[in-house]
């Protein structure tokens, strides 16, 4: 990895978004992921290499998260820095020069209006190189099914915060699996557990954004 790629990687891992960002304090007034990404593109660095550096950084912060060395705010700060780099890479994605890892359709299930957890998952998953289709909150089963048809091969994420909307979640998972048995379905939210996920027929349970990324990345090797 070149020196510039190392710097991008470090900035993402530490959550150094750009020069004006005060966090982390020991990198105050230094260039951040935004500036280094711009510099890398200007220097003719391959977008694939930049993306690889981003992925390495997110893997590192993800590993730290798994070891309880960092927590959700630091994970989100890294995702925020990564998203800044992705903005610079957007033209390359649009031109087809680099590809996303896949599409993740995401929504809070019918009857539930909680969106903060879903939004954070969306940001972290997107920061890890996935295209996210966010269907919003109070999403009926038909809307999930329509999105699956519009995005063949996508994975689906269902979120719920209330114990009582878990029944709606189970119904949605069941219907998705009836019509699209191969579609990977991940469920998450405070009342869920591995056991509940298994019982409703989901392929995975994610207790946090990083776990969603881990499951998704396992799908693409």
């Amino acid at each position: 990895m070149s020196e510039l790629m190392d710097k991008i990687c470090l900035c993402i891992e530490r959550g150094k978004v750009d020069k004006k960002a005060p966090y982390p304090p020991d990198m105050m007034n230094q260039d951040g992921a935004d500036e280094y990404a711009r510099e890398a593109i200007k220097a003719g660095e391959s977008p694939d290499n930049i993306l690889a550096a981003c992925n390495t950084a997110m893997e590192r912060i993800g590993d730290k998260f798994s070891r309880n060395e960092v927590f959700v705010p630091e994970l989100l700060m890294a995702a925020r820095a990564m998203n800044g780099v992705m903005e610079h890479l957007k033209p390359f994605f649009q031109a087809g020069n680099i590809k996303t890892k896949g599409t993740f359709v995401l929504g809070t299930v019918a009857g539930d209006l909680h969106d903060i957890g879903k939004n954070l998952v969306s940001m972290v998953v997107e920061g890890n190189g996935w295209k996210v289709v966010d269907l919003g909150v109070d999403v009926k089963t038909d809307k999930f099914l329509k999105a699956i048809e519009e995005h063949p091969g996508c994975a689906v994420g269902l979120s719920a915060l209330l114990t009582t909307t878990m029944a709606n979640m189970a119904a949605t998972v069941k219907r998705i699996k009836e019509l699209h048995a191969d579609t990977v379905v991940i469920v998450g939210g405070a009342p869920l557990s591995h056991k509940a996920a298994k019982e409703m027929g989901a392929d995975g349970y994610a207790a946090n954004p990083q776990e969603t990324v881990r499951i998704l990345n396992s799908l693409v090797g």
Partner: protein, 241 residues
């Protein structure tokens, strides 16, 4: 424990409480735990972001709270009847209301501004600040509810009565749709909180709950300790000792 709050009786039923911001303080430990740090401390720089964001959210809060007392007309295995309405609370809650002679229906809110600010932060691609702001708003709403709960406990203790834990629709198996029945027991726009068709409250950082009242009743440290439902999905999240 806070002193008794001032009460204002409403002619249409219910009591509005004076809930000045100086009686609801932000519990920094509860906030860092809610942010996921458990017993760890946030790293340098993050602590400052947390405290400055939480302070901003606290200053946006407009605390409102109130309650209405009802005789407990019936207590059955899967629910309770108050105010002529039967609430299918489920066995977890009804078990914990055993011994209650009355029930308080309480509502409190921190207003709409905190959630609007956290949504704005997320929209402006500041997920960390948005997450901290939303979490701080939730912690403050819980602390407002706790203040009301403590007020009721103190007031009723003077009458020789105790209170149970508080129970909200949407939790412990109580269908959130029963919010509609709960709000029918309260004056229109009680504490400036309204129900949406989906049964969610507006402002969203609001809490509604039922509290059992009766001689010899007391709050349990953790609801899970008093609950026999070994399969409850929330059990794994809460300490039991």
């Amino acid at each position: 424990m806070n002193p008794l709050l001032s009460e204002h009786l409403l002619t249409e039923g219910g009591v509005i409480l004076d809930l000045p911001s100086n009686v609801v303080s932000l519990d920094a430990v509860a906030l860092t735990r809610a942010l996921g740090y458990r017993d760890a401390s946030p790293p340098a720089g993050m602590s400052e972001l947390i405290s400055s964001t939480a302070e901003e959210i606290f200053n946006l809060c407009e605390f409102r709270a109130g309650y209405r007392l009802f005789e407990l007309e019936a207590l059955e295995a899967d629910g309770i009847r108050i105010g002529g309405q039967y609430f299918r609370t489920g066995p977890i809650i009804s078990r914990q209301l055993e011994g209650a002679e009355q029930a308080a229906v309480m509502v409190c809110t921190i207003g709409a501004a905190p959630e609007a600010r956290s949504a704005q932060m997320i929209k402006e691609k500041e997920p960390v600040l948005g997450f901290i702001a939303d979490t701080a708003a939730s912690v403050l709403a819980e602390q407002a509810a706790e203040t009301v709960h403590q007020h009721l406990a103190l007031k009723l203790a003077a009458e020789g009565l105790g209170v149970t834990n508080r129970f909200s629709p949407g939790y412990c198996g109580w269908d959130v749709q029963e919010q509609h029945k709960l709000f029918r027991l309260l004056p229109e726009a009680f504490c400036c909180v309204r129900l949406q068709g989906s049964a969610f409250m507006q402002p969203r950082k609001s809490i509604s709950a039922i509290i059992g009242i009766g001689k010899g009743l007391q709050r349990a440290d953790y609801a899970c300790a008093a609950c026999a439902d070994a399969q409850c999905t929330y059990r794994k999240k809460k300490p039991t000792s």
